[in-house]
């Protein structure tokens, strides 16, 4: 890849899974920051839009997603975070989405997931991938700095609330989210942490401790109340693996969207995207992992993913 800062050239090469140079990554992050800095903690997104869940560095599966969801730039996309970690191509995946944001700022909305964090990326692979592909931590630093600028949530036409994890006992009304200072590493507790870490739980009445160690488990009463107070049709979130690509909870008052098929090359699950039309009706397009012939595999982890 030559060292141009021409967005179209960088985009073309990213679509081939070609690794950008360190200076190109710095430049893209700089351009993206200028856009993110103007976005509020809850981004207003017009319909129609295609909502996507976790992609976790699975570059070739992201390309599958674009094939079934529609060309970026023509189709409006909203990604619910967790772009990095686990998969072998976190850098290429995140940079593709970031460059698409720079190229089509009104057609690509990115919000933060719990993996867009300095701490988590040091455990789950993004940091190691940066060190392996660049020999130093600069790219990791540029990316984790831009993570701090990512918005926390989105709302589609005031009716579909979108967040990576879920709800917080500190937030009853959506406009309370505006008060959060989001330009920080994901905290260990508090509203911002909860939004990125919480999970719905059909067996929970209201709030319970989340076994992940951050955020809460929230139940039916909480969701009914939140949807009513905020006049919502449904909550769309990601964060939890779904075998069938998506999963409704609480009589369809909440839905989980998951966009990483055969997660971590091991879970054999399907993935999906949530298509919201002009009338705010939604449907799901389910897809599977890109077949081997479509994957140009250059890097492979050597440690095992099973107990051998």
């Amino acid at each position: 890849m030559n060292n141009t800062n021409d967005i179209d050239v960088i985009l073309e090469q990213l679509f081939e899974c070609s690794l950008p140079t360190e200076s190109q990554i710095k430049y893209i992050c700089f351009r993206a920051r200028q856009i993110f800095i103007k976005e509020s903690n809850t981004i207003f997104v017009p319909a129609p839009v295609t909502i996507c869940g976790d992609v976790h560095g699975q570059f070739w599966d992201l390309k599958e997603l674009f094939e079934i969801g529609g060309k970026p730039g023509e189709t409006s996309y909203l990604f619910l975070g967790d772009f990095v970690d686990r998969g072998y191509y976190s850098i290429e995946t995140f940079l593709l989405l970031l460059t698409l944001k720079v190229k089509y700022p009104d057609k690509m909305t990115l919000i933060r997931g719990n993996h867009e964090s300095r701490q988590i990326t040091q455990v789950y692979g993004f940091y190691d991938e940066c060190m392996k592909k660049f020999g130093n931590s600069s790219v990791w630093r540029y990316c984790t700095e831009i993570f701090d600028y990512l918005s926390l949530s989105a709302i589609v036409e005031n009716q579909i609330f979108c967040v990576h994890g879920g709800l917080s006992p500190k937030i009853d009304q959506i406009n309370q989210i505006r008060l959060i200072d989001r330009k920080t590493e994901v905290p260990h507790e508090g509203a911002m942490c909860d939004m990125l870490w919480s999970d719905p739980d059909e067996t929970t009445k209201e709030w319970e401790i989340n076994p992940r160690g951050a955020g809460f488990n929230f139940g039916k009463l909480v969701v009914e109340k939140f949807n009513k107070i905020n006049s919502l049709k449904i909550i769309a979130r990601a964060h939890q693996l779904c075998q069938d690509g998506f999963q409704y909870s609480f009589d369809k008052k909440l839905v989980t969207v998951w966009s990483a098929p055969n997660y971590f090359y091991r879970c054999a699950n399907k993935a999906s995207v949530m298509i919201v039309n002009n009338e705010l009706d939604h449907s799901f397009k389910v897809f599977e992992a890109a077949p081997p012939e479509k994957r140009n595999v250059k890097h492979r982890k050597t440690t095992s993913i099973y107990f051998l």
Partner: protein, 337 residues
């Protein structure tokens, strides 16, 4: 290239296990001062592997401990025969812990591929700490055989062998003083699953026919039939270490029947997920299960809950015995989890 078993890849699974165990130890899940000597290149291991290997070692250790306790009255001592032990360090950990007096009456045998045994011997010869408990090291214990160097000390034997060749195995064991009459625990920690089922069954049948008081502990993957299982089969085949026995014995129930058919009259099984879920509810001596579970959860970020449940549901530990002298109830009580 379905089911092409590559010997080197199968041998390599031992290196993977050692690496994951070292990672788990270094993260503070459990103690093992010896595993570091058996890992050449340290690589990053994910939390799910750290926790999974902690549970694996925990289950194996508990069952070994219970075998030793249950047979502490054996006047002529006990034996442990580890099939395909690889880089396992339990021999040293048992001696270090000093928990069980019966360890003084324990003779430990390991049978593995010649190349693995040579590697293990090379490592022992470089590390004084590993040599300490080996009586007679090195001159009295290192023996050259047609298959390669072996180690034969009064209570520790490293034997070059092939688990598919039971006659050779029998000759080796006999030659090196195995007592077929005393309580003997056989361990297969992710080993027999890589062997063709007919060969593996032949070995199991040999054990119950030849040993008077055999016990068996088996830790393996199971259930190749659901999506996760099918993917696991595909991935492992690609890696050259296909699970040859798992299609014939594709469920926990079929494994129980297998062991019963091959002569073990007591067989019990625990799914690893269940073991984790009940970690807070043990009644094991000196172990506060709730406290232990909390300690484990606090060790590191763990964002793989769904995968954890999936992978743990696909592994189990089985313990069996052929013993006419005790009841099924008593077997489960003293030897069960």
């Amino acid at each position: 290239m379905k089911n092409q078993s590559n010997k080197e890849s199968v041998r390599g699974t031992g290196n993977s296990a050692a690496l994951c165990k070292l990672s788990s130890v270094q993260k503070g899940y459990y103690a093992d001062p010896f595993i570091q000597y058996f890992v050449q290149k340290k690589e990053k291991v994910e939390p799910i592997m750290n926790r999974g290997f902690y549970m694996r070692v925990h289950a194996m250790d508990r069952l070994i401990s219970q075998f030793l306790n249950a047979n502490s009255e054996s006047s002529e001592g006990v034996q442990i025969i580890q099939l395909g032990g690889g880089k396992d360090t339990t021999f040293w950990r048992l001696r270090l812990s000093g928990e069980n007096e019966v360890v003084n009456k324990l003779v430990w045998y390991e049978i593995d591929f010649p190349r693995t045994i040579q590697e293990k011997l090379r490592i022992i010869s470089r590390v004084p700490k590993l040599q300490e408990p080996i009586v007679g090291w090195p001159n009295k214990v290192l023996k050259k055989t047609s298959k390669g160097a072996e180690l034969h000390s009064p209570d520790y034997h490293l034997i070059c062998g092939d688990l598919r060749k039971t006659e050779d195995l029998h000759n080796s064991l006999q030659e090196h003083g195995v007592n077929f009459e005393i309580p003997t625990l056989f361990i297969s920690e992710c080993v027999l699953v890589y062997v063709e089922p007919n060969s593996a069954d032949k070995l199991l049948g040999y054990i119950t026919e030849t040993f008077k008081l055999p016990f068996f502990v088996l830790y393996e993957p199971t259930n190749p039939l659901d999506n996760f299982g099918k993917q696991m089969m595909k991935n492992l085949s690609k890696m050259g270490c296909p699970l040859l026995a798992i299609e014939q014995y594709n469920s926990i129930e079929s494994q129980i029947k297998r062991f019963q058919k091959l002569g073990f009259n007591y067989v019990d099984v625990k799914n690893m997920k269940l073991l984790w879920d009940t970690l807070g509810k043990w009644e094991a001596e000196n172990v506060d299960g709730q406290k232990e579970r909390k300690r484990i959860i606090r060790l590191e970020w763990f964002d793989e809950l769904e995968e954890w449940n999936m992978i743990m549901s696909h592994y189990f530990v089985l313990y069996a015995a052929k013993n006419d002298q005790i009841s099924q109830e008593k077997f489960i009580k003293i030897f069960g989890l």
